[in-house]
C-alpha cells in the first residue's frame, strides 16, 4: 500500500473537498483527512490538496483571502521543500495568489460561468502528475468556473513553455486562457495547479475515469 497521506484543506466556501476526499479515501484507499484552514500545520500529510469551491466567497479576488490563511504558511514551506501540492480550480487560484505558481486566473473572456466536460491535451507526460497518460493524449475532464482564464506576462509564458511546465491545455478553449493553458506545474515540478476537476472524473459510476490516473499517479509516486 502506498505511504501517501493526503490532506485536503477546507476553507469556508470550499465545495469540492468531499469529492476529493471520496476519491482518495474510498476509491484509492489512501489515508486521507481534512485540514481546517485555521490549523497551523499540515501534520504528517505528504500530499496536499487545495480543493475547488469559492473560498471566502471569492471576496476581493478569487483565492486572495485564502492565500493569507493560517495553514498556507505551512503549505508554502512544505511546498518549498519539495512537498506535493495540487490546487484544483479555486485551489489553482489560491496557488497563483500565494505566488507558488506564476500568473493569475482572470474572469472568463465571455463573462460566463462555464460548467461542462472539456477535452484536454496532456502536453507533458513526464511529471509525477501526468506519467500515467500518453504523450499528447486527449482526455475529458469537467470544468466549472467563472474565473479560469489563465494569464501571465509574455516572458513568463515563454518560460512555462521552455521548461515544460504546461501539463494540460484545452483542445477547445472555454475561457480565453493564454496559450490554451488548463494546468501548469511549478519549475521544481512538485506543485500542480489546474482549472479542470480530475476528482469529478474518477468514479466509473459517473461514466468517466480520465481524472483518476492523475490522482492515482501522485499517490503511487509516494513510496
Amino acid at each position: 500500500m502506498s505511504q501517501a497521506k493526503v490532506g485536503i484543506v477546507v476553507f469556508p466556501g470550499s465545495n469540492c473537498d468531499h469529492d476529493a476526499y471520496f476519491v482518495f479515501k474510498d476509491i484509492l484507499n489512501v489515508d486521507t483527512k481534512f485540514l481546517w484552514h485555521k490549523e497551523g500545520n499540515i501534520e504528517d500529510r505528504n500530499i496536499i490538496i487545495l480543493p475547488g469551491g469559492f473560498s471566502y466567497g471569492d471576496y476581493l479576488r478569487c483565492g486572495a483571502i485564502a492565500s493569507f490563511s493560517n495553514i498556507l504558511k505551512d503549505i508554502t514551506s512544505f511546498a518549498k521543500k519539495g512537498g506535493i501540492v495540487i490546487g484544483i480550480c479555486n485551489g489553482f487560484q489560491v496557488l497563483c495568489e500565494t505566488g507558488l505558481l506564476p500568473g493569475v486566473l482572470l474572469r472568463n473572456d465571455n463573462l460566463k460561468f462555464v460548467c461542462k466536460t472539456v477535452s484536454l491535451k496532456v502536453e507533458n507526460n513526464k511529471s509525477i502528475f501526468t506519467y500515467k497518460y500518453g504523450v499528447k493524449e486527449d482526455i475529458n475532464i469537467p470544468v466549472a468556473h467563472g474565473e479560469g482564464n489563465y494569464y501571465c506576462e509574455e516572458n513568463v509564458l515563454q518560460e512555462l513553455i521552455a521548461k515544460n511546465q504546461i501539463l494540460f491545455s484545452y483542445n477547445d478553449n472555454p475561457n480565453g486562457s493564454i496559450h490554451n493553458i488548463a494546468g501548469i506545474q511549478n519549475e521544481s515540478r512538485n506543485i500542480l495547479g489546474m482549472m479542470p476537476h480530475p476528482e469529478r472524473a474518477s468514479d466509473i459510476k459517473l461514466g468517466n475515469t480520465d481524472g483518476l490516473r492523475l490522482l492515482q499517479g501522485v499517490v503511487e509516486s509516494i513510496i
Binding site: 479576488r61 497563483c96 500568473g103 493569475v104 482572470l106 474572469r107 473572456d109 501571465c152 506576462e153
Partner: protein
C-alpha cells in the same frame, strides 16, 4: 485620522470584457463619444496615524500585499484628512 480611497483596475494591457460590454451598451444608448471603459473596484478605509506620509506607506503596502494583484491590476489611492 485619515481616509484612504483606493481604486483598483485591470492593467491597461489586459482586456476587460466587462468594460467592453458596458461600453457597447453606452454606445447603444447614444453615448457614441465614450471610449476606453474599464471596470474596477473601489475600496475605502480609515487609518489612525501621526502623518500623511505614514498613511501613504501603509496604504501602499496594503495595496501591494492584498488589495491588488500586481500581475493583473493597477491601483491608485487618495488620502483625505478627516
Amino acid at each position: 485620522m485619515y481616509k484612504v480611497k483606493v481604486t483598483v483596475t485591470l492593467r491597461k494591457t489586459i482586456l476587460d470584457p466587462q468594460g467592453k460590454t458596458v461600453e457597447h451598451s453606452l454606445h447603444s444608448l447614444g453615448y457614441t463619444g465614450i471610449s476606453g471603459t474599464r471596470i474596477g473596484k473601489y475600496i475605502e478605509f480609515f487609518i489612525e496615524a501621526d502623518s500623511e506620509e505614514k498613511v501613504k506607506l501603509t496604504a501602499d503596502e496594503a495595496c501591494k500585499k492584498l488589495l491588488s494583484n500586481p500581475v493583473m491590476e493597477d491601483y491608485t489611492f487618495i488620502i483625505e484628512k478627516v
